[in-house]
């Protein structure tokens, strides 16, 4: 380890990332973001940019441009969270963190939406994501060239690399030295791991599979005015500690400091175009049941894989009769998810997997294509740490109900769970469309997402699931339970 890196590690909590003071702008005595000095713009004032959505995309864009003098308003459909008052250490009580407005899910392998993958409120779905912060591999950008599947990107990994390095300081990311993809290290050292992760890491090692700690966007030690992680395990319910990264604590404070207005509880319903010039004039949005219009010179739509296409498809005009920027019928197409089966294993000792953050160790050893497996692309392996409701769904997913379900649940403390993220291929028929005739509480047509797997997807998932079984067997698990599911949403508005 170089001298410079050693020093950085020692001082990590006190070092300011370049051009982002968020962690130092938070209050020491409360978790809510200080908004006393936040700018307020009048609807009729034409701001430089309106951003739709205050999540991972929108909040970072706002922060970056505000630092360069742009006047920015971010419209967010959900609330401006106060973690002290609004969030609870409770699974069922965290329902408001998710996008729960009406949506339709179809196709031959439909994806469960809501809490599984969709956020609501300032901070977006990062508020309730587990916390893993893996980088793409260079191969991800050229899968058509390398593997003959999917599409190549118009940019390469090396275009993004400096941004990864910058963000990993801002979140900040903690983890072991990372040997996969483009090898790199993280600014915060790896977190301690719980007993289950320890046992599984050993099991994997026996099979020649390396699992490493992290990478997670969770402070290891304090960082600015963000306290250290207390290992309470409720990462998916919103971090009441402010230790886990979400834009709410990583970018919104600095954005506000530089003149951004975050306007919460505002549902944007249409991007409006001046028909003669073809330029946007602003957005229509609903706040407290009343319609407003925010004037803007430019509009950025950052509503994630379903709401972004929905807004564009609902924004029809004479110029764009099939939805904004949809002349080529690409909006909403090739929406992707990851195959995310989970395997839980039973051990003689108590594991108590609810302790420590759910994201503990992971492996990208199976990430790249290996022809011998009989399918293109690969998967990563991660720990999951399900709390009781989530684990009960796992047990039921395996086929147990009634007394058998209760029996397995009484045994909860002896179990540990690993999950897969299988790369599923982009298919044009997997798409977001408008479910005609069905509207939400504001009268706006809702989104429909159709999803079906292809043969390569099924092979990938089956192989990955078998790999998990092998790891559990090598680790000495006495019984296993498996459940099928998906995780995350990707794409929906492809680049290029």
């Amino acid at each position: 380890m170089s001298r410079r890196h050693e020093l950085r590690t020692l001082l990590r909590g006190a070092l300011r990332p370049p051009e982002n003071d968020s962690a130092f702008l938070l209050d020491v005595h409360r978790r809510a973001v200080p908004t006393e000095r936040m700018a307020r713009y009048d609807d009729s004032f034409s701001v430089d940019l309106v951003i739709v959505g205050a999540g991972a995309g929108g909040a970072t864009l706002a922060q970056r441009l505000a630092r360069r003098g742009w006047k920015v308003v971010v419209l967010e459909s959900g609330p401006f969270w106060d973690p002290d008052e609004d969030w609870v250490s409770d699974e069922a009580g965290s329902h408001r963190l998710y996008w729960t407005d009406a949506r339709v899910t179809g196709g031959s392998d439909p994806v469960e939406l809501g809490k599984n993958n969709s956020g609501h409120g300032v901070g977006g779905s990062m508020v309730h994501y587990a916390g893993y912060c893996p980088r793409f591999h260079p191969s991800d950008f050229e899968v058509r060239t390398r593997d003959g599947v999917g599409e190549d990107w118009p940019i390469s990994y090396y275009d993004l690399k400096p941004h990864y390095e910058r963000l990993e300081l801002e979140l900040p990311v903690a983890g072991d030295y990372w040997p996969w993809g483009d090898p790199h290290r993280y600014p915060h050292t790896a977190h301690p791991i719980n007993s289950g992760a320890d046992v599984l890491r050993e099991g994997a090692r026996k099979l020649g599979i390396e699992m490493l700690v992290g990478p997670v966007g969770i402070t290891n030690g304090s960082f600015g005015n963000r306290p250290h992680c207390i290992y309470r395990g409720y990462c998916l319910q919103g971090c009441k500690v402010n230790a886990k990264a979400s834009p709410l604590v990583t970018h919104i404070p600095d954005a506000i400091e530089h003149g951004v207005e975050i306007r919460a509880d505002c549902m944007v319903t249409q991007v409006v175009l001046d028909e003669s010039s073809g330029r946007v004039t602003g957005v229509r949005y609903i706040h407290d049941g009343a319609e407003h219009f925010q004037h803007a010179d430019a509009v950025a739509v950052a509503g994630y894989s379903i709401e972004t296409p929905r807004l564009l498809l609902n924004s029809t005009s004479r110029r764009f009769p099939h939805g904004l920027a949809n002349d080529n019928d690409q909006v909403g197409r090739c929406v992707m998810v990851q195959g995310a089966p989970q395997v839980a294993g039973r051990f003689p000792e108590e594991m108590r997997m609810y302790k420590a953050p759910p994201p503990e160790i992971s492996s990208e050893q199976f990430y790249e294509t290996d022809q011998r497996r009989g399918f293109a692309r690969g998967f990563s392996i991660q720990t999951v740490g399900p709390l009781p409701i989530e684990h009960a769904q796992h047990v039921l997913g395996h086929g147990h109900w009634g007394r058998a379900l209760r029996e397995y649940m009484r045994d909860y403390n002896h179990w540990y769970t690993l999950g897969i993220l299988s790369e599923l291929l982009p298919l044009p028929e997997n798409r977001v469309t408008i479910a005609h005739g069905e509207t939400d509480q504001n009268g706006i047509p809702v989104a429909r997402m159709d999803y079906s797997q292809c043969e390569n997807d099924r092979k990938n998932i089956a192989f990955a699931e078998q790999t998990l079984h092998n790891i559990f067997e090598a680790a000495g698990a006495q019984d296993t339970l498996v459940t099928s599911r998906y995780a995350h949403l990707v794409g929906g508005c492809r680049m290029g």
Binding site: W99, L113, Y231, I389, H400, R406
Partner: protein, 247 residues
């Protein structure tokens, strides 16, 4: 089967020759606080004893869940009667004390607290539950019963098993796929049952841990306040109470 076997993996359904779960009556009775049906794998652990260490928002929410059983407002009386039996079968709640799963589901549906998606070939979750009540009756009639509530427990169990396997046919079930119905309703049932601190007592879950956090997470370790499993039955209390419903 001797009670001490609950320690070992061999008591789990997958590993038993008949694949059937061991009788929970072999466990000690809960001695501190409440578990559903008072099965006590952690008989001296009551998560609510720790409430002073929770943040106020969480404490308020969890205690409201224990202390206030919401009235049935969404379902009709007939629907509620049928669905309460169904929910209790899915969670094997065969006697008091019971977590009021049906009331909790009813509250969620009444308040329109839905989960953010509807399968393309399914109705709205609220409609799904109403049709489930009709569908359970229809399935029970195929077994010769007058309706689901009036059927023998054996028939009721067979109907639930068929629903779980997606193998119901006729009437409601020709229009509403049983496998997706099972997904929708089981999600709500599990979410209600395992959100209740009585269930946390039963499984030895540490519960809310903010602002205190967890510090001991090595193999076999637990915090000083977390419950230890115990399998020895109390010769007086356990024999006295076992087999007497409602005590």
């Amino acid at each position: 089967m001797a009670s001490r076997d609950f320690r070992k993996a061999e008591h789990l359904p997958n590993l038993r020759p008949d694949q059937l779960p061991a009788s929970p009556e072999e466990l000690p009775r809960q001695r501190n606080g409440v578990t559903p049906q008072m099965h006590g794998r952690y008989p001296d652990y009551n998560v609510l004893d720790e409430a002073d260490h929770w943040d106020e928002t969480t404490r308020r929410l969890v205690f409201e869940r224990v202390e206030q059983t919401p009235p049935v407002r969404f379902f009709t009386k007939a629907e509620a009667d049928t669905l309460r039996i169904f929910c209790d079968l899915v969670m094997a709640q065969d006697r008091e004390p019971k977590i009021p799963v049906l009331n909790m589901v009813d509250a969620k549906l009444f308040e329109g607290q839905l989960d953010g998606f509807r399968y393309a070939d399914m109705p709205d979750d609220r409609e799904t539950w109403r049709r489930l009540a009709l569908g359970l009756d229809a399935a029970a009639r195929q077994h010769g019963a007058s309706d689901f509530a009036g059927a023998s427990e054996d028939v009721q169990m067979r109907v639930v098993e068929a629903l779980a396997k997606g193998e119901l046919h006729g009437e409601v079930w020709d229009e509403m796929p049983p496998s997706k119905t099972w997904k929708v309703v089981s999600r709500a049932i599990l979410s209600a049952f395992y959100s209740h601190p009585w269930a946390w007592n039963e499984i030895g879950f540490g519960g809310p841990a903010y602002p205190r956090g967890y510090a001991r997470f090595g193999i076999g370790q637990r915090e000083s306040w977390e419950g230890a499993p115990a399998f020895e039955r109390d010769p007086v209390k356990d024999t006295e109470h076992r087999g007497v419903p409602g005590t």
